[in-house]
Symmetry: C2
Subunit: 491 residues, 2 copies
């Protein structure tokens, strides 16, 4: 832990990669594009998962589990869906290996070829709607509100840890409704759940909106999204919630009988967030010393580092620390006591900074005598001397303060980097000069969207839900527009 | 819910299949051998998972996540391991589909063939030890105590819901140690964790033991196991914990430097339980009316069914029930209030019996007037009239009683069906006549084991850890034996 990270200013991308490794979050495996999520990284993901799972249950959803494999023919049933996913999928063609006859080790047994190939799920709409077909007969069977936590595979050519990996972990909600209005309400409700989670737990401010047609999920009538700004001012899509219309119900022939016995196709939503959020978390808060974690999802809230020379000092500090630890635990504060003999305090300080532990407490013999500790905040790096008396409550309040501070800081950064421009020239100049998000008028056509993308690499991130209507003219074509959209370069 | 289940006595296997469907636990998918775990079944699995996960963490383990795919060459590195798993694996050979040229829909793109085929993990020793190689240099890096919750695939020709499916969910612990003694201690510790969980949460008594060589995990030096008896007196292996020796460390060249700087191969364990436990749970406790669930893992502890004719009665019962529900919740009792208008009380009674809800409370106008409820226990089917006053504490105590009763009942059943025999003739006669577990002397040879299996379909389930040594003679060959083993037909 002696070497510093590459700074964000020097090379943002390199900084990210180094940080993911040095904070022990994840690493590349020897399987192309697949990552290993290491225990510390996984502990953060588990905390995120626990909060989300509770929110899904509070809003009436149950978990279930559907097969990993999707028959090739299922994927083909919804035309847009297959176009979107066929190009990047892992295909199982055989079900057995055998010993080769020429001493080359095991080989794929040619006699064990599947009649129909199986796709490793890139998303589960098709396999799930194939089941819903059997589960839904009448309006009494609706709504169905199901979520699953699962691994999915999309064959990516260029991968980056957490941000884009061939296999990733996610949750996917799949709901079925009797009416269009109810399905839209569900899609919007889940966008709100994501917004609440991302802002209030991950401390990442997001812009809520919906996607342009060309950025929609393959098979959706509307894709709602939340977009976050990373510290390099690029956008990251933090979650999506899709109103699927009757597309999958039609593809899989899923109808319900209403109260009058009339058969209607069922309405659908799906919504998901993934381990990509880990990448967003890192890129929103962390600094050149390493990870910075919002307390609400930090595996460790407080680390206590004893500083001693003699065994006697060590013993005395350990005894007092045990007292403090009990008090912390009673308040639900997750605390680690690190008295590892093999490492010096300075090494530990750097290590826990790298790992983003929100609060560090150091206790030496003089602190002990004075009834104080030295306390350091990870977010501001401020140090202070704090009395041991009532330190549990002090830290509890401080953790809340850190949580809010991180959100405020990220909000301020985003506000400073959202620009409103009215001409394409201005847009190109500013984007090139300083990056950021741009609120601009767009004529709503695919052609203009594509032109902007081709010429600037920036894309329409979303049509924001929370901004007012405003008459204007498309910055590219001058055609009328009734609302500004957000354009930015994105992960 | 009008039709009764096939009875266990009539057709145990049919009873099981019907129950899994009717209690809404799981169903077959259209993907060969893969099941869909439905919300009610998954809620039971989640409860099991939560308890186990907490126990793993208490014993010092962390969760992590390793890739779904294993390069074919990794699987081949440990000779016994590949022999055990190559015959039943899903093989990914391509990474893209494309539109066929003759209008046949999407086809596998022949240009997207992988250089090296990937196996969908049947278990993760190889991919994990390939990583541990990079994580372990010195004794300071040990032990590594990691668990993962994952889906795995073993291509099964004959499948049954929960008991044997191509894809299943499980946890797999993978630990690395500096010494043989420590690794053995870990393997035994995890067997104790499983025993505690299965007996005290699932209310399933188990016999702790270790496997004969031919029943060992492919790649293990010793496989510890817990064996449970189902109601048809067949055995079910409920969990295994493997001491892997240095086999995987040698296959993947994983060495550590000890305090003197000497390089040594690392010692390993792995251990797992799976959704198969759901099958064991069902077959241990359930009866001809449906599922019976131990309270500690039941998604719903208490269901309240209001019985009313008028809206006024309905209102009064709902108000009183809301009070009771709050009291139940305060004690951590999971309660459901079912006032669905579409179903009659009798239908609901049968439905919650089918779903194994431990306690049912019915409240009608006369109960309300008298301050009583009618309470029914699912395990004994006893009904009683209980005062609303203090019913929360009453039910809490009752749930504990039901939990213990289920374990006692299962223990008594098992005791009645374990037999000690000394001759092969007697063994065959009794096994044929009444099934059960048999404590017999065995000469320790594969030949005898194989002969018994061929002639009786019974297998050596384990060499029990908790029975005394006893000199005797093998029931088949008459050769000396120092200990009885358990033989039974098994799932």
């Amino acid at each position: 832990m002696s070497n510093k990270l590459t700074s964000r200013a020097d090379d943002y991308s390199k900084w990210y990669n180094e940080l993911v490794g040095r904070a022990d979050l994840a690493e590349h495996s020897d399987v192309r594009g697949c990552m290993i999520i290491k225990p510390y990284g996984f502990a953060i993901w588990e905390n995120m998962k626990d909060v989300l799972d509770a929110k899904f249950k509070e809003t009436g959803h149950s978990n279930a589990y559907f097969p990993l494999f999707i028959p090739k023919s299922f994927l083909s049933k919804e035309a847009n869906h297959v176009d979107g996913f066929a190009k990047e999928c892992a295909v199982v063609t055989h079900y057995r290996l055998k010993n080769g006859e020429n001493g080359e080790g095991v080989i794929v047994d040619p006699d064990a070829k599947l009649e129909e190939e199986l796709i490793v799920r890139p998303t589960s709409e098709t396999i799930i709607w194939n089941s819903y077909k059997n589960w839904i007969q009448s309006y009494r069977d609706l709504p169905i509100l199901i979520n699953q936590w699962a691994n999915v595979v999309r064959w990516e050519m260029r991968t980056r840890l957490f941000l884009r990996t061939t296999e990733f972990l996610w949750q996917e909600g799949h709901t079925a409704h009797a009416t269009k209005a109810e399905a839209i309400e569900e899609a919007e409700k889940m966008l709100d759940v994501y917004t609440d989670f991302v802002e209030n737990y991950m401390a990442m401010p997001v812009i809520r909106g919906y996607k342009s047609e060309s950025e929609r999920f393959a098979g959706a009538d509307e894709t709602y999204c939340i977009e976050a700004m990373m510290q390099d001012t690029k956008a990251l899509q933090a979650g999506t919630s899709h109103f699927l219309g009757q597309n999958f119900a039609k593809a899989f022939d899923v109808k319900y009988a209403d109260k009058e016995g009339k058969l209607e196709h069922v309405w659908a939503t799906s919504w998901g967030v993934s381990t990509r959020l880990m990448g967003a978390l890192i890129m929103t808060h962390s600094d050149d010393e390493g990870l910075v974690l919002p307390p609400r999802i930090a595996p460790i809230h407080v680390v206590i580092v004893p500083i001693f020379k003699t065994d006697e000092e060590r013993e005395a500090i350990a005894t007092k620390s045990a007292e403090l630890i009990n008090k912390f635990k009673a308040l639900g504060i997750r605390v680690k006591f690190d008295d590892d003999d093999n490492r010096r305090p300075g090494w530990k300080f750097a290590e826990y900074e790298m790992k983003g532990v929100p609060v560090r407490i150091a206790i030496g013999p003089r602190d002990l005598a004075a009834g104080n500790v030295e306390l350091a905040r990870r977010d501001t790096k401020e140090k202070s001397v704090v009395s041991m008396e009532g330190i549990d409550q002090y830290v509890k309040t401080l953790l809340d303060e850190i949580q809010l501070n991180l959100l405020d800081k990220a909000k301020a950064f985003r506000e400073a980097n959202i620009h409103q421009v009215d001409t394409y020239e201005e847009f190109k100049l500013q984007l090139e000069a300083k990056g950021g998000f741009y609120l601009v008028h767009w004529d709503g056509t695919k052609e203009t969207e594509e032109k902007i993308k081709q010429e600037t690499q920036a894309t329409i991130r979303c049509i924001p839900l929370d901004t007012p209507n405003e008459e204007g003219k498309c910055m590219v074509t001058g055609k009328p527009s009734s609302r500004r959209v957000i354009i930015a370069k994105a992960y």
